[in-house]
Every structure is written in structure tokens, then in C-alpha cells.
């Protein structure tokens, strides 16, 4: 965990619609100060007597120095918690914890970086792109979604990056297909040295497989269901191969969410691999 996370009561500054998504800006100086690209924050939803106890985790789209420090989150309404969040208005208080998790590692020397995002998972890539450009890295984007209104940040990506390749499942914008389909071509065209990816597990698995073919490193930010986001509840575990070669059920919240792609056993997500540390039948006691 880089830096030390804080729990703060932030104040909602703005809530706006961005395409199919909601973008929420909160004044939360303690979090904005400590933020690095790849960090996430959690929000308590439902107010003080809430019946929804798990915190909702969100990637940070942007931090700005206004009002001492603001944090912007992008989300879509998927249940009671995000519906409550979408009803917040300016000046409402919001219980936030952050910044959480392991941020994206940045290249020491200028490199050609390809940023791959799917749906609103792409939100977490823009702060990364800023940081990479400040280090004189070339930045290219591949953004994808089911349909054109769900491709997040296409305009901003086009403005800031050398190239931005867009994909939609229904073909309503850019190339028909998924981000994984166009990836080999884009890697070849942009001479990417490193790939950063955000999105669902299946997409990240596909991106990692393509990068392995090209022999370039890939950093993935995984999305796994979390209850607390701070390492207490043990629900967001993913099978990840450690430095010692041993697979462990690793918490995405404190040891991730950013992992080296080839270390995550995407095909085994949702299982306990038989060779994982402490797997049933793999020890002497049981």
C-alpha cells in the first residue's frame, strides 16, 4: 500500500452525466493529495442508517487541486448502492476512504505506452496518461464498450493521445469487436513498449495473452467484488503467482488492483487452483 489511506467525509461538488455514465466530483483534500494513478477509493452508500453495508469501490478518473483537492469518480447504476450515489447532489456529505491499492508502476525512461480500457473501467486510465506524458512517454489509447454511448472518454483520449482506437460490440463506433481484437494491430503500429489495461477479467485475460505473444510487459487493474476495500474481508481474492513462483489467493484491494498481467491466473479466476498455497488436499494436515 503506497502512502497511507484516510477516511474522510467529503462534500459533493458536482454530479453530471457523461454519456451512459455518472461522474461525481467530491471535495476530499486528504485523498487528492495522496493520489497516484491506479489508486481507487471506496464510498459508503445509503447514509448513516444504511442497509447496504459493503463499501463501493471506484477507480479515480481525475484529481484536481480546486477547493483544496477534488476527486472524480465515474460509475454506472447497477444496484441500490450506485442508485443512491447517483442521487447525490452538490453539498451532500459522502464518506470516502482512499487512496487505496497499489498504483500503476511508471516507466523510468520515456517509453511508448498503450492504454487499454473497456466500458467505464477506462476512467482510471486518464490520470495515468497525464503522468506518463509528463515523463515524455508516448501514449496511445484503445477504448471499447458494448455500444457507442458506453465508450468512456473517447474525445479526451483523441485529444491527448497520439492515436485512439475505438471499438464497439455493435459496431456503432469505431471498429466492430472488442479491444482484444484490435490489440495486435495497434501494438504493431504504435511500437508499444508496455501496455496498461483496465476492465473486466475476461478482457484483461485477453489483453495479457496478446501482450505475451508480443513479449511486452502488461500491467492490469483487476475488477473483483469487494466488501471493504482495505484488506479486512478477504472477498476480493484473485489467484496470483508471487515472486517465489507460488500461487496465492491474493487480495485485489491491498496487493492490487494493479498486477503484472502474466502473474494473474485469469483462467483460474473463480476457482482455487489445485497448486495454490493452502489449496484443499495440497497440505499434509487435511
Amino acid at each position: 500500500m503506497a502512502g497511507s489511506p484516510v477516511q474522510v467525509t467529503g462534500t459533493v461538488l458536482t454530479m453530471r452525466r457523461v454519456d451512459a455514465y455518472h461522474a461525481l466530483t467530491v471535495v476530499a483534500p486528504g485523498i487528492a493529495d495522496r493520489f497516484r494513478p491506479g489508486h481507487f477509493v471506496t464510498v459508503a452508500v445509503g447514509g448513516p442508517r444504511t442497509s447496504t453495508l459493503t463499501r463501493r469501490a471506484f477507480a479515480v478518473h481525475d484529481v484536481k487541486p480546486d477547493y483544496g483537492g477534488t476527486v472524480e469518480l465515474v460509475f454506472t447504476v447497477r444496484g441500490a448502492g450506485t442508485a443512491w450515489l447517483a442521487d447525490r447532489r452538490a453539498r451532500d456529505p459522502l464518506d470516502l476512504i482512499g487512496p487505496l491499492g497499489r498504483p500503476f508502476p511508471l516507466p523510468r525512461d520515456p517509453a511508448s505506452c498503450l492504454l487499454v480500457g473497456s466500458e467505464y473501467g477506462a476512467a482510471g486510465l486518464f490520470a495515468l496518461a497525464d503522468a506518463l506524458q509528463q515523463r515524455n512517454c508516448r501514449v496511445d489509447f484503445v477504448l471499447g464498450a458494448a455500444s457507442s454511448d458506453r465508450v468512456f472518454g473517447a474525445l479526451r483520449a483523441r485529444r491527448m493521445a497520439e492515436t485512439a482506437t475505438l471499438t464497439t460490440r455493435d459496431g456503432s463506433l469505431g471498429v466492430r469487436g472488442s479491444v482484444v481484437d484490435v490489440l495486435p494491430g495497434v501494438i504493431a503500429d504504435t511500437h508499444a513498449d508496455v501496455v496498461y489495461a483496465c476492465g473486466p477479467m475476461a478482457t484483461l485475460g485477453g489483453v495479457t495473452a496478446v501482450c505475451a505473444e508480443f513479449g511486452i510487459p502488461v500491467q492490469v487493474s483487476v475488477e473483483e467484488l469487494m466488501a471493504c476495500g482495505i484488506g479486512l474481508c478477504m472477498t476480493c481474492t484473485v489467484p496470483v503467482i508471487g515472486d517465489d513462483g507460488v500461487t496465492r489467493m491474493t487480495r485485489a484491494c491491498v496487493d492490487g488492483p494493479v498486477f503484472r498481467g502474466e502473474r494473474v491466473r485469469f483462467d483460474d479466476v473463480g476457482t482455487i487452483p489445485f497448486d495454490a498455497h493452502g489449496a484443499p488436499g495440497g497440505d499434509r494436515a487435511r
Binding site: 497511507s4 489511506p5 484516510v6 477516511q7 459508503a44 444504511t50 442497509s51 447496504t52 453495508l53 459493503t54 463499501r55 448502492g81 464518506d95 476512504i97 473483483e224 467484488l225 466488501a227 471493504c228 482495505i230 484488506g231 479486512l232 474481508c233 478477504m234 472477498t235 476480493c236 481474492t237 484473485v238 496465492r248 489467493m249 491491498v254 479466476v269 473463480g270 476457482t271 482455487i272 495454490a276 498455497h277 493452502g278 489449496a279 484443499p280 495440497g282 497440505d283 499434509r284 494436515a285 487435511r286
Partner: protein
């Protein structure tokens, strides 16, 4: 004047009655950035097992109304790593630590007790009776008075005489008082209740069980009435046995409810996922509530709801 919040688990004095429930405070390190863990009455560790355990596949968690279903499967690095890396961190800071232990057989429980009993920094042992007994076709110890008593007595025998042994009970049993009595007869100095009752949720979109394991333990405010009932019944039957009440406590009022039912200490669990500072908030709120009600000592409120009622209409009944 603020009320005296000291409480006792057997002969061990705690400066205040707020503990963390097993499996909800990580190793202590995760909670430390948000709350001073040394100020808790005690921190209960996740259940420590002999061998490392990878736990259950994901999804391990499903949110339910005012609650949480979980099937983590006691993921942990095993007792040796716990003793080498996790307990020393707590001991160095002077965190009072209740170590929860779990095993698949009586022998495994007593082996764990032997390993832990002389480790510096262990305040008490909590026996997680909700483990499947591999010698009894996977039936959990907590559901059978004789199995529960046998485990507790094995741990009591293996542990040093001055280390309190706490038995943690499950609410979804035929007769929680019978289990409690068996544990006390087996040598438990205190009882901890309740562990998660078993529940299930089905994801209607995927049309499959929400948890990979199918069923899971239900926690959170949804189970608080079960906790109040279990604490009430056990305190009525065994008034001399200290009870740590837990199950969906989110506020000082919830803690006071369990105290009035008979708990001399209260643990916060699931609420820590929502608010890592909750333990300290609940303590402050409980202190204020006791003061408002004119209590000088927490001990005076323990089990107070059991006092006979003074309604005269009842005494005058001709029946």
C-alpha cells in the same frame, strides 16, 4: 462522571468492552491506518488454522438486506506464519489479542492451543466451533453439545491454566443453552456469541447461487435479533459466565442492547467493513448512553433487562 467501562473475561481485565469479531479485523495492520487498535478492549484475530488455507473460490460475498453473506473459507497462512509475522506485530504494540482457532478434529484444536499458549501477546483463545468435524462426516462442532464440549475441554487441557478459553457458539442450533452448558462444563471461561448463521442467496440474473460455495454465513444487522435472543437465553441459564455479545452491532445502542441482554463485552464485526473506525465510535456511544442513564459502571448494566418487572397488574391476576 463517565461510567467505568472495565470488564472481565474470566480473570483478564479489559479496559473497555469493545472487541472486534473474528475475521473482521484482518491482522490488525489493515485497521491501523484508520483506528488505534491498542484502544480496543481486544482484537480478535481471524480463525487461525494449523496449515495454510487458500479458502473458497470467488464470489465469496453477497450483499443481502442489512447483511452480508460470506463464504471465505478461513483463508489464512497457517499458525506458523501467524506466530512469526502477525502476532508479533500485535504484541509489540500491546494490542490485547484474542486468538481464534479452528480445526477439523479435536486433535487439531489441541495442537493449535499448545502452539499458541505460550506465545507472547495472546490474551485469550477463542474456539471457533463452527468448523466441520472431519471425523463426524463434516458436521460442525457447534451443532452437537458433546462434540463442542469435547473440543473445548481438549483446548482447556492444552492451554496454560491462566489463559482464558472462550467458546464461540452458532445461533442456528436446536438448543443454544445446551451447547453453552456443554462448553462451560468442558472448561470454557467465557462464551462468544453469535457466529454467522448459514444462509443463501441466488443471483436471479445469472440464475445461480450468488456465492461460489452455495451457502455462506450471514452477518450484519440482519442477525442482531438472533444475537440478542441467544445472549438472553444463555445469560438466563448461566448468569455467572461472561458472554461476549456480537452480531450486527453498528452503534452504541446496539451494543447496549446486547449488554442489557447479558453480554459483558461486545464485538463489532461486519460494520468494520463499512466503517473501520466503528469500534471506537461504538465505544464512545455506549459510554454516553450509560452515562445518560446514570450508570457508574458498565457492569451494573450487564443483564439488567432480566430484572423482574414490577407491574402490579400481573401479580393481581386471578389466574
Amino acid at each position: 462522571m463517565p461510567a467505568d467501562m472495565r470488564t472481565y473475561l474470566a480473570h483478564v481485565e479489559l479496559p473497555n468492552p469493545i472487541l472486534t469479531a473474528s475475521g473482521c479485523a484482518g491482522t490488525g495492520r489493515e485497521l491501523a491506518p484508520f483506528a488505534d487498535v491498542t484502544r480496543l478492549g481486544a482484537l480478535t484475530t481471524r480463525t487461525i488454522t494449523m496449515a495454510p488455507r487458500a479458502g473458497r473460490p470467488t464470489p465469496r460475498m453477497a450483499e443481502t438486506p442489512s447483511g452480508l453473506l460470506n463464504a471465505v473459507g478461513l483463508q489464512g497462512p497457517g499458525v506458523d506464519v501467524f506466530l512469526a509475522r502477525e502476532l508479533p506485530w500485535l504484541a509489540e504494540r500491546g494490542v490485547r489479542t484474542v486468538v481464534s482457532i479452528g480445526g477439523g478434529s479435536v486433535a487439531e484444536f489441541s495442537a493449535l492451543a499448545r502452539k499458541l499458549t505460550d506465545a507472547p501477546g495472546v490474551t485469550a483463545l477463542e474456539v471457533n466451533l463452527s468448523c466441520p468435524n472431519v471425523e463426524d462426516r463434516g458436521r460442525v462442532f457447534a451443532r452437537d453439545p458433546s462434540a463442542a464440549g469435547e473440543v473445548v475441554s481438549a483446548v482447556r487441557t492444552a492451554a496454560r491454566y491462566d489463559l482464558p478459553v472462550i467458546a464461540k457458539l452458532q445461533p442456528d442450533v436446536a438448543d443454544v443453552v445446551a451447547i453453552a452448558k456443554a462448553c462451560v462444563d468442558g472448561g470454557a471461561e467465557a462464551l462468544s456469541m453469535i457466529n454467522n448463521p448459514v444462509g443463501m442467496a441466488i443471483d436471479v440474473d445469472r440464475m445461480r447461487p450468488a456465492l461460489a460455495a452455495g451457502t455462506g454465513g450471514l452477518s450484519g444487522p440482519a442477525i442482531r435479533p438472533l444475537a440478542v435472543k441467544c445472549v438472553w437465553q444463555v445469560h438466563a441459564a448461566l448468569p455467572g459466565t461472561p458472554v461476549i455479545g456480537m452480531g450486527g452491532v453498528t452503534s452504541g445502542r446496539d451494543a447496549l442492547e446486547l449488554v442489557l441482554a447479558g453480554a459483558c463485552a461486545v464485538a463489532v464485526g461486519t460494520v468494520l467493513f463499512h466503517d473501520p473506525y466503528a469500534g471506537h465510535r461504538v465505544l464512545r456511544e455506549l459510554e454516553e448512553l450509560l452515562q445518560e442513564r446514570g450508570f457508574d459502571r458498565l457492569a451494573d448494566a450487564v443483564g439488567l433487562a432480566h430484572r423482574p418487572s414490577h407491574r402490579t397488574d400481573r401479580e393481581e391476576s386471578s389466574l
